[in-house]
Protein backbone atom coordinates (compact mmCIF):
# COMPACT_ATOMS: atom_id res chain seq x y z
CA UNK A 1 0.00 0.00 0.00
CA UNK A 2 1.30 3.46 -0.82
CA UNK A 3 1.85 6.06 1.89
CA UNK A 4 -0.91 8.34 0.62
CA UNK A 5 -3.50 5.60 1.16
CA UNK A 6 -2.17 4.83 4.64
CA UNK A 7 -2.52 8.50 5.59
CA UNK A 8 -6.13 8.43 4.45
CA UNK A 9 -7.06 5.10 6.03
CA UNK A 10 -5.47 5.94 9.40
CA UNK A 11 -6.78 9.49 9.29
CA UNK A 12 -3.34 10.99 9.89
CA UNK A 13 -2.51 14.66 9.92
CA UNK A 14 0.32 15.41 7.50
CA UNK A 15 2.78 18.10 8.63
CA UNK A 16 5.29 17.56 5.88
CA UNK A 17 4.25 15.99 2.62
CA UNK A 18 6.90 13.73 1.13
CA UNK A 19 7.17 10.25 -0.36
CA UNK A 20 3.38 10.04 -0.75
CA UNK A 21 3.66 7.46 -3.52
CA UNK A 22 6.20 5.30 -1.68
CA UNK A 23 5.15 1.67 -1.35
CA UNK A 24 5.08 0.81 2.35
CA UNK A 25 5.69 -2.83 3.17
CA UNK A 26 6.46 -2.57 6.84
CA UNK A 27 6.77 -0.43 9.92
CA UNK A 28 8.86 -0.23 13.05
CA UNK A 29 7.60 1.04 16.37
CA UNK A 30 10.03 2.21 19.03
CA UNK A 31 10.90 5.23 21.14
CA UNK A 32 14.45 4.03 21.67
CA UNK A 33 16.57 5.62 19.01
CA UNK A 34 19.34 3.03 19.04
CA UNK A 35 16.73 0.32 18.66
CA UNK A 36 15.51 2.00 15.48
CA UNK A 37 19.08 2.63 14.35
CA UNK A 38 19.95 -1.03 14.85
CA UNK A 39 16.78 -2.78 13.78
CA UNK A 40 14.51 -0.70 11.53
CA UNK A 41 14.82 -1.38 7.81
CA UNK A 42 14.87 1.11 5.00
CA UNK A 43 11.47 1.82 3.50
CA UNK A 44 9.63 1.16 6.75
CA UNK A 45 7.38 3.70 8.45
CA UNK A 46 8.54 4.64 11.97
CA UNK A 47 5.93 4.94 14.72
CA UNK A 48 7.11 6.88 17.77
CA UNK A 49 6.30 9.46 20.39
CA UNK A 50 9.70 11.15 20.11
CA UNK A 51 9.44 14.60 18.57
CA UNK A 52 12.98 16.00 18.36
CA UNK A 53 15.40 16.50 15.51
CA UNK A 54 17.30 13.26 16.10
CA UNK A 55 14.21 11.45 14.82
CA UNK A 56 14.60 12.97 11.38
CA UNK A 57 18.38 12.51 11.54
CA UNK A 58 17.85 8.78 12.05
CA UNK A 59 15.00 8.56 9.55
CA UNK A 60 17.22 10.14 6.94
CA UNK A 61 20.21 7.90 7.71
CA UNK A 62 18.02 4.78 7.63
CA UNK A 63 16.03 5.79 4.51
CA UNK A 64 12.78 5.82 6.43
CA UNK A 65 10.21 7.62 4.26
CA UNK A 66 7.70 8.57 6.95
CA UNK A 67 7.40 9.03 10.70
CA UNK A 68 4.06 8.68 12.49
CA UNK A 69 3.99 10.60 15.78
CA UNK A 70 1.42 9.12 18.13
CA UNK A 71 -1.00 10.68 20.61
CA UNK A 72 -1.07 14.08 18.95
CA UNK A 73 2.61 14.74 19.61
CA UNK A 74 3.97 17.97 18.24
CA UNK A 75 7.32 17.84 16.45
CA UNK A 76 9.91 20.42 17.45
CA UNK A 77 10.30 23.23 14.91
CA UNK A 78 13.83 22.12 13.98
CA UNK A 79 12.62 18.55 13.47
CA UNK A 80 9.99 19.74 11.01
CA UNK A 81 12.47 21.96 9.23
CA UNK A 82 14.92 19.07 8.97
CA UNK A 83 12.13 16.82 7.63
CA UNK A 84 11.55 19.33 4.82
CA UNK A 85 15.24 19.40 3.94
CA UNK A 86 15.52 15.61 3.99
CA UNK A 87 12.14 14.82 2.38
CA UNK A 88 10.69 12.83 5.25
CA UNK A 89 6.94 12.68 5.60
CA UNK A 90 5.83 13.73 9.10
CA UNK A 91 2.45 12.38 10.19
CA UNK A 92 0.50 12.73 13.42
CA UNK A 93 -2.12 10.40 14.85
CA UNK A 94 -4.52 11.25 17.65
CA UNK A 95 -4.27 7.64 18.81
CA UNK A 96 -1.66 5.91 20.97
CA UNK A 97 1.01 3.55 19.66
CA UNK A 98 -0.92 0.30 20.17
CA UNK A 99 -3.89 1.43 18.10
CA UNK A 100 -1.74 2.92 15.34
CA UNK A 101 0.34 -0.25 15.10
CA UNK A 102 -2.72 -2.48 15.10
CA UNK A 103 -4.46 -0.58 12.35
CA UNK A 104 -1.34 -0.26 10.22
CA UNK A 105 -0.59 -3.96 10.65
CA UNK A 106 -4.06 -4.83 9.38
CA UNK A 107 -3.50 -2.62 6.33
CA UNK A 108 -0.10 -3.85 5.22
CA UNK A 109 0.39 -7.32 6.74
Amino acid sequence: MILKDIIERLNLKCLNEANLDAEIKGAYSSDLLSDVMGNARSGQVWITMQTHKNVTAIASLKDIPAVIIVRNGEPDADMLEHAKEEDICILVSTEPTFQVCGKLYELIK
Partner: protein
Protein backbone atom coordinates in the same frame (compact mmCIF):
# COMPACT_ATOMS: atom_id res chain seq x y z
CA UNK B 1 39.87 11.01 1.04
CA UNK B 2 39.85 12.48 4.47
CA UNK B 3 37.10 14.28 6.37
CA UNK B 4 37.03 15.80 9.85
CA UNK B 5 34.17 16.87 12.07
CA UNK B 6 34.01 18.40 15.54
CA UNK B 7 31.82 17.03 18.29
CA UNK B 8 30.31 19.43 20.80
CA UNK B 9 29.25 18.31 24.24
CA UNK B 10 25.52 17.97 24.68
CA UNK B 11 24.73 19.23 21.20
CA UNK B 12 22.17 16.61 20.20
CA UNK B 13 20.63 18.93 17.64
CA UNK B 14 23.58 18.65 15.30
CA UNK B 15 24.38 15.04 16.13
CA UNK B 16 24.21 12.99 12.99
CA UNK B 17 25.79 15.70 10.89
CA UNK B 18 28.97 13.70 10.30
CA UNK B 19 27.04 10.51 9.50
CA UNK B 20 24.80 12.35 7.04
CA UNK B 21 27.77 13.90 5.32
CA UNK B 22 29.65 10.58 5.10
CA UNK B 23 26.51 8.89 3.76
CA UNK B 24 26.25 11.46 0.95
CA UNK B 25 29.91 10.99 0.05
CA UNK B 26 29.67 7.19 0.01
CA UNK B 27 26.58 7.36 -2.21
CA UNK B 28 28.46 9.59 -4.65
CA UNK B 29 31.29 7.05 -4.64
CA UNK B 30 28.77 4.32 -5.51
CA UNK B 31 29.59 2.29 -2.44
CA UNK B 32 27.10 -0.57 -2.14
CA UNK B 33 23.99 0.33 -0.07
CA UNK B 34 24.48 -2.54 2.41
CA UNK B 35 27.90 -1.18 3.42
CA UNK B 36 26.60 2.39 3.62
CA UNK B 37 23.85 1.24 6.00
CA UNK B 38 26.34 -0.38 8.35
CA UNK B 39 28.72 2.56 8.25
CA UNK B 40 26.10 5.20 9.09
CA UNK B 41 24.72 3.16 12.01
CA UNK B 42 28.19 2.79 13.52
CA UNK B 43 29.20 6.39 12.99
CA UNK B 44 25.92 7.83 14.26
CA UNK B 45 26.07 5.76 17.44
CA UNK B 46 29.66 6.84 18.03
CA UNK B 47 28.71 10.49 17.49
CA UNK B 48 25.84 10.19 19.95
CA UNK B 49 28.04 8.48 22.52
CA UNK B 50 30.55 11.32 22.37
CA UNK B 51 27.82 13.99 22.55
CA UNK B 52 26.11 12.27 25.47
CA UNK B 53 29.10 11.23 27.57
CA UNK B 54 32.16 13.30 26.65
CA UNK B 55 33.19 16.95 26.85
CA UNK B 56 33.93 17.30 23.18
CA UNK B 57 35.81 15.51 20.49
CA UNK B 58 36.71 14.97 16.91
CA UNK B 59 35.77 12.60 14.13
CA UNK B 60 38.25 11.67 11.42
CA UNK B 61 37.08 9.64 8.46
CA UNK B 62 39.44 8.16 5.91
CA UNK B 63 37.95 6.57 2.81
CA UNK B 64 39.96 4.56 0.32
CA UNK B 65 38.78 2.06 -2.30
CA UNK B 66 39.08 -0.92 0.06
CA UNK B 67 37.85 0.43 3.35
CA UNK B 68 36.56 3.24 5.48
CA UNK B 69 38.24 3.99 8.80
CA UNK B 70 36.33 6.20 11.24
CA UNK B 71 38.12 7.47 14.32
CA UNK B 72 35.96 9.11 16.95
CA UNK B 73 38.17 10.58 19.66
CA UNK B 74 36.66 12.32 22.66
CA UNK B 75 37.88 14.10 25.74
CA UNK B 76 35.76 12.69 28.50
CA UNK B 77 35.39 10.45 31.49
CA UNK B 78 36.58 7.29 29.73
CA UNK B 79 34.90 3.90 30.04
CA UNK B 80 35.67 2.17 33.37
CA UNK B 81 34.65 -1.29 32.19
CA UNK B 82 34.63 -1.87 28.45
CA UNK B 83 33.16 -5.38 28.70
CA UNK B 84 30.21 -4.01 30.64
CA UNK B 85 29.79 -1.15 28.16
CA UNK B 86 29.65 -3.70 25.34
CA UNK B 87 26.75 -5.48 27.07
CA UNK B 88 23.41 -4.75 25.46
CA UNK B 89 21.14 -2.84 27.83
CA UNK B 90 23.88 -1.45 30.06
CA UNK B 91 24.07 2.35 30.05
CA UNK B 92 25.35 5.24 32.17
CA UNK B 93 23.32 7.87 30.29
CA UNK B 94 21.65 10.66 32.27
CA UNK B 95 17.86 10.77 32.74
CA UNK B 96 17.67 13.72 30.31
CA UNK B 97 19.47 11.74 27.62
CA UNK B 98 17.23 8.74 28.26
CA UNK B 99 14.11 10.86 27.92
CA UNK B 100 15.17 11.66 24.38
CA UNK B 101 15.21 7.95 23.63
CA UNK B 102 18.96 7.52 23.90
CA UNK B 103 20.76 5.56 26.59
CA UNK B 104 19.20 2.20 25.81
CA UNK B 105 22.59 0.55 26.15
CA UNK B 106 22.62 -0.41 22.49
CA UNK B 107 25.15 2.04 21.12
CA UNK B 108 28.39 0.10 21.42
CA UNK B 109 26.72 -3.25 20.58
CA UNK B 110 25.26 -1.61 17.43
CA UNK B 111 28.72 -0.32 16.55
CA UNK B 112 30.28 -3.75 17.06
CA UNK B 113 27.63 -5.41 14.88
CA UNK B 114 28.01 -2.94 12.06
CA UNK B 115 31.79 -2.74 11.78
CA UNK B 116 34.37 -5.27 10.62
CA UNK B 117 36.93 -4.07 13.15
CA UNK B 118 36.40 -2.09 16.32
CA UNK B 119 39.17 -0.87 18.59
CA UNK B 120 38.38 0.94 21.83
CA UNK B 121 41.16 2.88 23.55
CA UNK B 122 39.97 4.44 26.75
CA UNK B 123 41.61 6.11 29.71
CA UNK B 124 39.72 7.14 32.82
CA UNK B 125 39.51 10.91 33.14
CA UNK B 126 41.14 11.47 29.76
CA UNK B 127 38.86 10.15 27.06
CA UNK B 128 37.93 7.42 24.62
CA UNK B 129 38.96 6.77 21.05
CA UNK B 130 36.98 4.42 18.86
CA UNK B 131 38.58 3.18 15.67
CA UNK B 132 35.97 1.62 13.43
CA UNK B 133 36.79 -0.07 10.13
CA UNK B 134 34.38 -1.29 7.49
CA UNK B 135 35.70 -3.01 4.37
CA UNK B 136 33.99 -1.86 1.20
CA UNK B 137 32.56 -4.10 -1.51
CA UNK B 138 33.55 -7.10 0.58
Amino acid sequence: MHYSFDIERGNFTDAGHASASVKRTLKQLNVEPASIKRIVVALYEAEINAVAHAYGGKIDVEIDPEKIVMIVADEGPGIPNVDLAMTEGWSTASPKVREMGFGAGMGLPNIKKNTDELKIDTKIGVGTTLTMTVYLNA
